[in-house]
């Protein structure tokens, strides 16, 4: 992959809630190996932009591209395939409260790889260790502090090795 190849492109995007236009004619490109920061005042639509970029909201106008392919015009199956390369850490962690940390972190692996349960658990433990939560595999999200939940969310959002 070329160093400066476009990775994510947002072209001409307009976001609106009903008649309330939040942002219009948004244009930017994230290249490979970029660390891209979206900054703005509270309430200016940073989270909303991200929600649009992963398909939780639909832009009223414009298009997003992942590695050259249009995400906006892709069908649901194709979208899921594209999103498998995306890790999302939600504001409140959004861990599945009915599952342990290991199950949470291992879920993308269990769903999308052929790994067996013990292997999934091993990788999940590794990811939890990477965020400093070694030994918390069998805890439920409600038993943890806000910061720990956030870190576990980060472990779950890590792209698959």
């Amino acid at each position: 992959m070329a160093e400066n190849e476009a990775h994510i492109t947002v072209r001409d995007v307009t976001m609106a809630f009903g008649s309330f236009v939040l942002m219009h004619d948004l244009d930017f490109t994230v290249r490979h190996n970029d660390i891209f920061i979206i900054m703005g005042a509270s309430g200016s639509g940073k989270s909303t932009l991200l929600r649009h970029m992963v398909g939780l909201n639909e832009p009223v106008h414009g298009e997003m591209f992942y590695g050259g392919a249009s995400f906006t015009r892709a069908d649901p199956v194709e979208r899921n395939r594209m999103l498998r390369g995306v890790g999302i850490l939600y504001q409140g962690g959004a861990l599945f409260s009915s599952m342990t940390l290991a199950e949470n972190v291992g879920m993308p692996l269990a769903e999308y790889t052929d790994l067996g349960p013990t292997e999934v658990l091993e990788i999940a433990s590794l990811k939890l260790a990477l965020v400093g939560l070694k030994g918390f595999e069998d805890f439920y999200p409600s038993q943890l502090s806000g910061g720990m939940v956030k870190r576990a969310g980060l472990a779950r959002a890590m792209p698959r090795p």
Binding site: L83, I88, S97
Partner: protein, 359 residues
């Protein structure tokens, strides 16, 4: 010159700036100066008052000299005016004319019906995936849901069914004894429980117990963005959350209904034996002749349908829930109401259909 004096504290109420504002509306002064030398103590009541004086001044282009104010007050006023009001953020709640309100209610009603239909479509699609063996959900979840909806509901179903059975027997006995036909109380209880009440009562109990829980669970998952996380992981909330719930209730309701029929008949037996002194053998003999397998399977089939309806309404209202604690509460309430309405409607449709079919 505005002279501020004495203590300005919230406990003493908010002085109205109306007099000053009137002054500004009339003949606008050249400039406004404050004198706070006599001020003894202040809090946000003073800041609120001053902001309401300064703002109209600014609108009219009257220069305001804040030099005379304490520096803390000056800083707070600057802070309050730092970010201008966002246009369109303040929504005006105008009282609408009655015709508008009727029209809006109609439109909302239509929207809610189309939301239900589109959810029904989504569910049907998910069931299609299930039939093709492609649905993604965790079997652990399904087993847990089956346990919660089934085995854990036994105590309340026992209580309600036993009481229903004995109430039927009691009410029936009082009437039937007038004709010396007390023994037919068994027929009454048996037919009522097996045909209708077993399924309906179990359905209503589970609507309150499980349907409300489903709405609250799914509603909370929306609040905590768990459903968003599922979606972006490529897992459909319909398959992952709704399917196992519908499956669980659809499987457990017939079993619970069968159990409820049995317990109801026992409740009737208690009254028949205790009050009417009918021998237990005679009671069960009458039950055996009056209740047949068609009746029993009809009731169980109805129960399965009610179970799916309860899970459907619970999941529908849960996924429609807004993102606040009170919205989740509303979702749970609405789930129970929807379930009961659907159960009673279905019950009516079944009664007519079964009558036409001669069952």
């Amino acid at each position: 010159m505005v002279r501020l004096a004495g203590p300005w504290h919230l406990q003493r109420g908010l002085p109205s700036p109306a007099a000053l504002q009137r002054e500004l509306h009339g003949q606008p002064p050249m400039r406004v100066v404050f004198d706070a030398t006599a001020l003894r103590g202040w809090d946000s009541s003073l800041v609120n008052f001053l902001v309401q004086v300064v703002e109209p001044c600014r609108e009219r282009g009257v220069p305001v000299d804040q030099e005379g104010l304490p520096s803390g007050v000056r800083r707070l006023i600057t802070l309050a005016e730092a970010v201008p009001e966002r246009k369109g953020a303040r929504t005006k709640a105008l009282p609408l004319p009655i015709l508008d309100r009727i029209g809006l209610a109609w439109i909302r009603g239509g929207e809610s019906v189309s939301a239900i239909l589109s959810f029904l479509g989504d569910v049907t699609q998910a069931v299609g995936q299930l039939v093709r063996g492609k649905a993604r959900y965790r079997s652990v979840d399904l087993l847990l849901l089956i346990q919660q909806a089934g085995a854990e509901a036994l105590p309340i179903v026992t209580l309600i069914s036993f009481l229903m059975g004995s109430i039927f027997a009691f009410v029936g006995a009082v009437q039937l004894q007038k004709f010396g036909a007390g023994v037919y109380v068994a027929d009454l209880v048996g037919i009522a429980m097996v045909r209708e009440m077993g399924a309906v009562m179990t359905g209503i109990v589970l609507a309150g117990r499980t349907g409300a829980a489903y709405a609250a669970q799914l509603g909370t998952m929306k609040v905590t963005q768990e459903t968003d996380a599922l979606t972006t992981m490529g897992l459909s909330p319909l398959e992952f959350l709704v399917l196992p719930r519908m499956l669980g209730l659809g499987l457990m309701m017939p079993l619970l209904c069968l159990y409820s029929d049995g317990v109801g008949i026992l409740g009737g037996a208690a009254v028949a034996v205790g009050m009417l002194h009918i021998p237990l053998v005679t009671y069960f003999g009458r039950i055996k002749t009056s209740v047949d397998l068609t009746m029993l399977s009809g009731g169980i089939f109805k129960a399965a349908v009610y179970g799916v309806l309860v899970a459907f309404s619970g999941c529908l209202r849960g996924l429609q829930s807004g993102a606040s604690a009170s919205a989740v509460g509303d979702a749970a309430t609405s789930a129970v109401v929807t379930s009961i309405v659907l159960i009673i409607t279905a019950c009516g449709i079944f009664a007519v259909t079964f009558y036409i079919l001669g069952i």
